[in-house]
C-alpha cells in the first residue's frame, strides 16, 4: 500500500522569503508524483508533476519540486513567495490510477 506524509500541517512565512514544503512517500514500485494546490473556496488544481525523466520539475508560477528516489521524497520549493501563494498544498502519489494524498500543508504568507 502507498502512503504519503506531509510532516508540516502549517507553514507561516513572510513575503519574499523562501519556502520548502516537505513530502515523503512509501512505495515499493515506481510511482508518479504530484503537487496540487487548493486556494480558499476552490477545488484542487494541479501545480506540477513528476512522471519520468528529469528529477527537477517546475511550475509556471515559480514553484519547483525534486524527485529523490533514494529518500523517497518530493519536496516543493519556491525561492521567493508572494501573498497570492497562500493556500493549502497537497502531495499525491499515483499508483495505477489510484491517487494517495498527504494530509496537506497550509502555507500562510504574511506581508
Amino acid at each position: 500500500a502507498q502512503s504519503v506524509t506531509q510532516l508540516d500541517s502549517q507553514v507561516p512565512v513572510f513575503e519574499e522569503a523562501p519556502v520548502e514544503l516537505r513530502c515523503n512517500y512509501s512505495s515499493s514500485v515506481s510511482v508518479y508524483l504530484f503537487w496540487y494546490v487548493q486556494y480558499p473556496n476552490q477545488g484542487l488544481q494541479l501545480l506540477l508533476k513528476y512522471l519520468s525523466g528529469s528529477t527537477l520539475v517546475e511550475s509556471i508560477n515559480g514553484f519547483e519540486a525534486e524527485f529523490n528516489k533514494s529518500q523517497t521524497s518530493f519536496h516543493l520549493r519556491k525561492p521567493s513567495v508572494h501573498i497570492s501563494d497562500t493556500a493549502e498544498y497537497f502531495c499525491a502519489v499515483d499508483n495505477f490510477n489510484k491517487f494517495y494524498f498527504g494530509s496537506g500543508t497550509k502555507l500562510n504568507v504574511k506581508p
Binding site: F34, L51, F90, F99
Partner: protein, 113 residues
Amino acid sequence: GAGVSQSPRYKVAKRGQDVALRCDPISGHVSLFWYQQALGQGPEFLTYFQNEAQLDKSGLPSDRFFAERPEGSVSTLKIQRTQQEDSAVYLCASSLPTQETQYFGPGTRLLVL
C-alpha cells in the same frame, strides 16, 4: 473549456436520509474518480470508472455507498442512510486514459446532522 462540475455544492442531510451527489466530468474524459475529504485531511480514494465500467471500488467505506456512471459520462455517488461520519467534502475528478493528471471539481460539502 468547461472543467469538472459538481452539484449540489452544499448539502445538509438529516441522519438516515439518502443523498445523491452528481459529477459532470470534462467532455471526452473517459476516466472518472470519486474522493472523500474529511475536515483537515487529504482526499481519500473512493472509486474509479473507465467509461461506464466501475474498475475499482475498494475505497467505498461501506455498502451504504454506491456509485454509478450508466452512460459513461455523468456520475452519481449515492449514500444511503447517511451517518454523521459521512460529513465531508466529496470530490470528483476526471482524466483521459492516456494521461496521469486528474482534474478536480469544486466538490460537494455534505453535512449530516
